[in-house]
């Protein structure tokens, strides 16, 4: 998936007023469509009012935050492991033809295997421990990270490589000062993509194999035929994720991309 361009493309242009306007229009329109769906589905799609009520109930129970914390912790563990491994392998593949030759087919296959398969195979081999789900997630995420990082390393300026050879830069300096900074935009996109996919995947993992966590809560509400709570819980967690992104990712990006003006 070319999420590579998500970050630069989705810079919303225009002033604050226009952004607020767009947000209002988008929200109102979505709410109207939702309400329409409620009417058509004969109550199977919960009405906005029911979702609001469920949201109120869920937001005031302490339990839900414990579940969120469990999920957040899992996201962070898998995210950290997948980005670290993916970036390391991706850089190695981008710089060394042999490493590339060996891992390329594995990455292609890794991208093609459905997430469900990773999860089910992990459960079969390792049991229903928490760790088996997390390992499945890391395995499913790594190919995405590698794909983006390899693209970034491959697109580096060969002129700067020659410069490093002329001035005999040492390996470490070359990796940090020459390759590292050129790849940094791709690395940021890779980490963002990885984080977003980690959230998408954890829901599946928890629904299939875990008794706790926000994904399990969503699936639980689904089985009890309580779509209002299902949506409310997802919404609550999405808000938390957005906060995390704003607090952690935005400052890091600013720091690393300053030289591009």
């Amino acid at each position: 998936m070319t999420t590579e361009q998500v970050a630069p493309l989705r810079q919303i242009t225009g002033g604050r007023l226009q952004r607020v306007q767009a947000f209002a229009v988008a929200s109102l329109l979505a709410l109207a469509v939702w309400q329409l769906a409620t009417l058509i589905s004969g109550g199977w799609v919960p009405s906005l009012w029911r979702i609001m009520t469920a949201l109120g109930e869920d937001a005031t129970t302490a339990n839900i935050y414990a579940e969120m914390w469990i999920t957040l912790r899992r996201i962070f563990i898998t995210f950290a492991a997948a980005t670290a491994i993916g970036i390391g392998l991706g850089v190695a593949m981008g710089l060394n033809r042999r490493v590339m030759a060996f891992f390329r087919p594995i990455v292609v296959m890794g991208l093609a295997v459905p997430d469900v398969v990773y999860i089910i195979v992990a459960i079969l081999v390792l049991g229903t421990e928490e760790s088996s789900g997390l390992i499945a997630m890391v395995l499913a995420l790594i190919p995405f990270v590698i794909n983006i990082v390899v693209g970034g390393v491959g697109a580096r300026d060969p002129g700067l490589d020659e410069m490093s050879a002329v001035y005999r830069l040492r390996r470490v300096r070359y990796l940090v000062d020459v390759v590292g900074w050129q790849v940094s935009p791709a690395l940021i996109v890779a980490t963002r993509t990885c984080f977003a996919f980690a959230w998408k995947l954890i829901v599946l993992v928890e629904a299939l194999s875990q008794p706790r966590g926000i994904g399990a809560q969503i699936y639980y509400s689904f089985r009890l035929l309580r779509p209002d709570h299902m949506i409310a819980r997802a919404l609550l967690f999405i808000v938390i994720l957005r906060l995390v992104e704003a607090i952690i990712f935005a400052p890091v990006e600013k720091k690393f991309l300053g030289w591009m003006q």
Binding site: T2, Q5, V25, A26, F102, V116, L204, M230
Partner: protein, 269 residues
């Protein structure tokens, strides 16, 4: 005259290197099989490779799998087509900008973050176990990615080609025919190729939750009944179809359509 140092070995070394690359590639490709082999020896759940391989002929020639395979392929192709149309529309509106551009941008951003599991569960409520649900889930999940890829194409087309259109005073239809479409073709291909694989993965999930037919449902059923050999067979079929279409259909046709792009540069190497 700026070539990277990698291209500077002499011919013999390069030939040797390319053989080495091939060998390493083959080694990499067989790595999952190696893992499988280890798995089958260390656990009781994973069936030996031999068992699965022996089953393949009977499995493939049996009448019983093809309806499910076909229905899944149909779903992938259908929802991909919908996603392309939706994605193109969204990209166009986003590119035009203004209020509606920003509104579309909001929706694309929102859709990017929706877990397919959540979409599949919701679809169950709305569409019950009907076919539309699968199409809905797959196209909703894949279309924002299509939109972003095409948007990127539209944006870069603008910068480079609009000036030329101005210089030669092309009319709008001429611009579309000679500038916009040829420029968007590679981006459309990129979108199709990326989202094709994505669609397969989502379809499996949607079938698992939402319907009783298709490869995803069969795969899940095999697992539920603990018929691991069947599940492995479905996985093998899945990989063969996905990688097969990728390498035999999509990649060659992309090369064919885009051959004008490489003629100049690659010949010099």
């Amino acid at each position: 005259m700026t070539r990277s140092p990698e291209t500077t070995q002499n011919l013999r070394a390069r030939l040797r290197a390319s053989w080495l690359d091939l060998a390493l590639g083959a080694l990499g490709a067989s790595f999952p099989i190696f893992l499988w082999w280890i798995g089958s020896h260390t656990t009781t759940f994973v069936p030996p490779i031999g068992d699965v391989l022996r089953e393949i002929p009977g499995f493939v020639t049996g009448e019983d799998i093809w309806p499910d395979v076909l229905v899944t392929i149909e779903r992938v192709a259908g929802s991909l087509a919908i996603a392309l149309v939706l994605g193109f529309a969204a990209a166009y509106v986003m590119h035009r900008g203004g209020l509606w551009g920003r509104v579309a941008d909001r929706y694309v951003g929102l859709m990017l973050g929706i877990p397919s599991t959540l979409a599949a569960l919701l679809a169950l409520y709305v569409f019950k176990r009907s076919e539309i649900g699968v199409y809905f889930v797959v196209s909703i999940i894949t279309f924002p990615f299509v939109a972003l890829t095409l948007l990127q194409g539209l944006r870069s087309a603008d910068r480079r080609l609009d000036e030329m259109g101005d210089v030669y005073r092309l009319s709008t239809p001429q611009r579309l025919r000679h500038l916009a479409v040829p420029h968007l073709v590679p981006y459309t291909f990129a979108a199709i190729r990326n989202e094709y694989a994505h669609a397969w993965k989502v379809v499996v999930l949607a079938e698992l939750f939402a319907v009783n037919s298709g490869m995803g449902a069969r795969f899940a059923r095999a697992f539920d009944r603990f018929r691991i050999v069947d599940a492995m067979l479905w996985l093998v079929i899945f990989m063969i179809i996905l990688l097969g279409t990728e390498y035999l259909l999509l990649l060659p046709s992309e090369r064919r359509v885009l051959r004008w792009r490489r003629s100049g540069m690659e010949g010099l190497r």
